[in-house]
Symmetry: C2
């Protein structure tokens, strides 16, 4: 396989929001696909999706669906990943899993290529793609960390409904329509009304009072930065935005980092766009960033409540850099490596 | 006037969102109104509003509109307050001003009755009503501060459009309608699209990179708590919610304050409702809190990124406790005092 230049690729969960983005991104970034296999559960198997001008049928996601596959993207929920990732691995595919199922496993690299791409050189057949909010956060923390030590991070998120999936986007639009026509709304996907409301709950509550999403932000950030005691706290909030996550990030440093220096650092960082000219109303917002690959940063300013602190505001397309794009970028790095980066046995 | 039991009351800016709330709250709380004078600019003068079953005409806000008035509520912008507050004071009215014009003046008490109502006993004819986000924040900080010293606060806000006024509510609904019918949206009130978006700008940008709203939260909190070096940083964000501000509050303490103790303290605090049972999806959200008087708190949990820290989530009706209700509560306290709390000359 070392000299192979095109790859047999499968996407499990190909018809969901993230799966669909992966199809599009593989095409637009000209990933060397030999054959693309789209897989989904019974509800969607049989659908037709377009890839590079070709109509592809969606096949059923089942145990023997991965025969002959080199790279398998999983854009499924944790339950389905746990069920089918082992099948893909046993068929010899390298798995890039977008679910939370394996992210914290010691043996599974959790990778944002710009941040810790070096972890890809020695894996055992699978890579985990981090939570969307985590990707967005570490993309700005890592370049700053290279210059100054970080003492503590406080992050509050403003997360779009697309992070949950299609049904959540439908629920937002239906609730908005019902409210505008004075009908009673239906609440199914979220625990409360999402239209014209903010819900401080993403994922289930854990025993320490954090939600699953908040725990992911904390634990995955520590794993990716390889700093197990990294001091970070998070409040994750769902907002009535279709796509594009925003974050208010408060960072306390060990020593001085000026606003200008932070701007320089982020401007020069791969995958980040600085939009930071408040006098001209220039700062990133979700509706502008949707469809873009980069993490956008702005509103960098001194936090005078600590000796050395900065506040900043970041926005990212949670379906792209937060999910599909990052997964494809992982694959792009893997194909540069001997044997797709697999550990020598 | 000392033995007077009913008061001649004026409301400047009576037809705006806050002014209208003041009319309603004066009625529902049976404030001892002898005569109510509604004042507004040319656009709204002549309108008819109902008060205690009576139809009142709105008169023009002009220099001699305050003759014979005992208590004048100002629900105007800073410019109008600067112009007409002096007229009301020179006529002998005690002014309760909701604008930002005089809040930071040394000689003007800035009051949330539950927090620093004692400041009402010695004023020079005017009281300032704090910014809505500040009210909401100090309502939870003060009771906690009575038990443990606070080292630092980080607050991120999720602020409803009603805080800007009626035109902002119209803009949100029009943008939503236009987007749902595939029309081009109009952006007038805010610097960016507000429908299905989050805008990290409330008020203008100041020279240090904070917005006016963030500066108000910081400076007014310090003034109300009477702690001029209180360490606090804020990110103020407008969200597509009609009414009800939410806040993610991260508090670092000087010593231990358990989650249970914090819950007890807030449960026993006047003007606060604790809604904190995540296992049963019980936490406050904007659409539930609209129309209620109290500041709602929930999601109290340990912040493990510091030795002694808590995170919490608060929601408040920004037009009520954040504005109109607090103003009326100030008036309720004033009428208990000799000479409405005026300083002896």
């Amino acid at each position: 396989m070392k000299n192979q230049t095109k790859y047999k690729v499968a996407i499990a969960g190909a018809t969901g929001l993230v799966g669909t983005e992966i199809i599009g991104i593989l095409g637009s970034r000209r990933f060397p696909v030999d054959k693309l296999k789209l897989l989904a559960s019974e509800d969607s198997a049989g659908e037709i999706h377009e890839f590079r001008g070709e109509a592809l049928h969606v096949s059923l996601l089942e145990e023997d669906a991965f025969i002959g596959v080199d790279i398998a993207f999983f854009a499924t929920n944790s339950e389905l990943s746990r069920k089918y990732v082992p099948c893909a691995r046993s068929e010899g595919a390298v798995v890039i899993d977008n679910s939370a199922a394996y992210r914290m496993d010691m043996d599974v690299p959790l990778v944002v290529p710009e941040v810790n791409g070096f972890k890809l050189v020695d894996h055992d057949g699978m890579i985990a793609n981090p939570n969307c909010s985590t990707v967005q956060l570490v993309m700005v923390l890592k370049p700053l960390l290279k210059h100054v030590r970080i003492k503590r991070v406080v992050v509050s998120t403003y997360q779009a409904v697309s992070g949950w999936g299609k049904r959540a986007m439908d629920e937002l639009i239906e609730q908005v329509r019902d409210l505008l026509t004075f009908k009673e709304i239906k609440v199914n996907v979220f625990s409360k009304q999402i239209a014209f409301n903010c819900i401080p709950q993403i994922d289930v509550f854990t025993s320490n009072g954090n939600t699953g999403e908040e725990e992911k932000i904390i634990n995955e950030t520590r794993k990716i930065l390889d700093m197990k005691d990294f001091r970070i706290t998070a409040t994750a909030v769902r907002v009535p935005v279709f796509n594009g996550h925003s974050q208010a990030v408060t960072i306390e440093f060990d020593s001085e980092l000026s606003v200008e220096k932070a701007r320089d650092i982020l401007t020069q960082s791969t995958g980040i766009v600085l939009l930071d000219d408040p006098a001209n109303s220039e700062f990133p917002v979700a509706v502008q960033v949707t469809g873009h690959d980069e993490v956008y940063a702005g509103r960098i300013r001194k936090d005078h409540s600590v000796e050395y602190g900065l506040n900043l505001w970041t926005v990212s397309d949670n379906l792209r850099k937060g999910a599909a794009l990052n997964a494809v970028q992982i694959a792009e790095e893997l194909i540069k490596l001997p044997n797709l980066g697999r550990r020598k046995k």
